[in-house]
Amino acid sequence: MSLLEIRNLSVEFETAHGLFRAVDGVDLEIDQGEMVAIVGESGSGKSVSMLALMGLLPWTAKITADRMNFDGQDLLTISQKERRKIIGKDISMIFQEPMTSLNPCFTVGYQIMEVIREHLGGTKKELKKRAIELLGLVGIPSPETRLRAFPHQMSGGMNQRVMIAMMIACNPRVLIADEPTTALDVTIQAQILELLGELQKKQGMAMVLITHDMGVVAETAEVVNVQYAGQQVERQDVKGLFNAPRHPYTHALLNALPERATSKRLPSIPGVVPGLLDRPTGCLFNPRCKFATDKCRSDAPDLHSKVLCHYPLEDGMPTNNHPGVSVAEGNS
């Protein structure tokens, strides 16, 4: 049994225009020391599924799942109080916006020590020592003086390091990083990713990395979940995914990478992720898929060997008797 296992997770929101399904049948499985990436455009429900796991969604969200287990504990039936003992200690999460995710009214030191005191306890002196140690671990220079700094006195990159220090303070077994580098400068991005990778190896954590950046995925992850419009469309290990993507969406995402571009113009995926009001029938990706058929437009696909597609790709070509293989060939 895996350390963390999620089966068929769905999240629905009540809105003024009816029920909106932000996450639709997502699976996740991760073991000690593993690194799983969840990839997808903005609006594909990556963060929402992880927030649901953490229990951080507003009460308007309706969460259902077949299974949501952590280390033998059922997170679906657990009480709020029990969950709070796990959250922040064994499972913790780093957020996208370091500048707004830290409380502007408290010092960095207070915010780090608070989480240790909550879960592990200790005297003031011990807490302080541990906080200094943590700040050093995440590469913050002169940690003793930084302890007394307020978040607004530091840069975004520094704040994200503080955030990481805070979230690994209790030696979590699963660390979820929700686009940890999106809000940062490009040069800082690489540093933070490197730091996260190092920490993951050193502490043997399981790590879930949410990102929309395929480049990041290639460098860090072992297993990749591709998510589109709330659905998990493909799951593969990273090598297989980059060599032989099976879902047309993954295929298109990889083609949009500058490193893999073959033509002069960088190919892009036309259109945007469907929202509440423009949800298509059939396969959710069909309006943007270059292989879409009438079947795709009418019937929703089932999961075929971890790919959510009527015609999974092989060598960039649809299989399963796709009617227009020759046409598609001419197109690309």
């Binding site: 003024a16 036309p270 009001l277 423009d278 309006p287």
Partner: protein, 306 residues
């Protein structure tokens, strides 16, 4: 894909047909979501109708005295008469009729105060924000001075200079409200005049007056309207307070605050002359404030839910 484009096209087309109607419709959509605001609106309209028709529908004269029927309780109490629905005061004046005419005075006072303070406030604020420099500094400091004196005290002092009475009370209250409008209008004018559309109409040769009143003003209307609805209710309260202190409308005018002042001595003997004018003030002000809340929800885009 084509479907998506289609709906988008539809939207722009309908917006082009009548932007004003579209805006009003959207406004009403957000306004009517707030049930309290709708209740407030209908109650307010009810009071407006009473105020307008007071001469016609009031059963008695509001000021004619009739000593024979003094201090009659409301009709449901022992000794009450149905022709004096809410009873009479010490001078035998019908309370219901006086309340109806009081609505007229209060709403009138509220309107006048808004018109005066809004007009002068917007003029001062817009010009301060538009011309900047020493003129702006002087205007804003004068407003600071007015704000640093508690509004009721300021109004009392002004009435002491001008002499008691409803007209002077309205002027005095208007002055105490000026700073809010000046600050709002100035802030909007400062931000708006930096925008591209103002520069472009400047380049196009628009005159100063035109720029201020036709180009900038409509773009800062929303906060001004919300402020106006707020000060409409406080103006009614302050007019009544001045009347209560004997510095506003003078007897025998049927003003709610003045009626309360007259009724103070009957606090123990005739509850109706003390209670009812206050209820009238409270309900009217509450209705306007409910409406104001709805207005703010509908006009403030920050509060709008997506």
């Amino acid at each position: 894909m084509s479907q998506v484009q289609n709906t988008a096209d539809n939207k722009t087309v309908s917006a082009e047909i009548s932007p004003l109607r579209q805006q009003l419709k959207e406004f009403w959509f957000y306004f009517s979501e707030n049930k309290g605001a709708v209740v407030g609106l209908f109650f307010f309209l009810f009071i407006v109708v009473i105020a307008v028709l007071a001469d016609v529908i009031a059963p008695h004269s509001p000021i004619a005295q009739n000593r024979e029927v003094g201090m009659i309780p409301p009709f449901w109490q022992e000794g009450g008469k149905i022709e004096y629905f809410f009873g009479t005061d010490i001078l035998g004046r019908d309370l219901l009729s006086r309340l109806m005419h009081g609505a007229r005075i209060s709403l009138f006072a509220g309107c006048i105060v808004i018109v005066i303070s809004l007009t002068f406030g917007v003029l001062l604020g817009l010009s301060a924000g538009y011309f900047r420099g020493i003129y702006e500094v002087i205007v804003m400091r004068v407003m600071d001075v007015i704000l640093s004196i508690p509004s009721l005290l300021m109004a009392l002092v002004l009435v002491a200079i001008l002499g008691p009475g409803l007209r002077n009370a309205m002027i005095a209250i208007s002055v105490t409200y000026l700073p809010h409008y000046v600050r709002l209008a100035r802030a909007s004018a400062v931000t708006e005049s930096a925008r591209d559309y103002v520069t472009s109409s400047k380049v196009a040769g628009a005159g100063t007056m035109r720029l201020m009143l036709i180009t900038i003003l409509p773009n800062c209307m929303a906060p001004l309207i919300v402020q106006a609805s707020l000060s409409f209710s406080t103006a009614i309260l302050d007019t009544a307070a001045l009347g209560f202190l004997g510095m506003g409308a003078q007897a025998p005018a049927a003003e709610w605050g003045t009626m309360l002042a007259d009724a103070r001595e009957f606090i123990l003997s005739a509850w109706w002359v003390v209670t009812l004018p206050g209820v009238a003030i409270l309900l009217t002000v509450l209705a306007i404030n409910l409406m104001g809340d709805g207005l703010r929800d509908a006009l403030d885009p920050k509060m709008k839910r997506s």
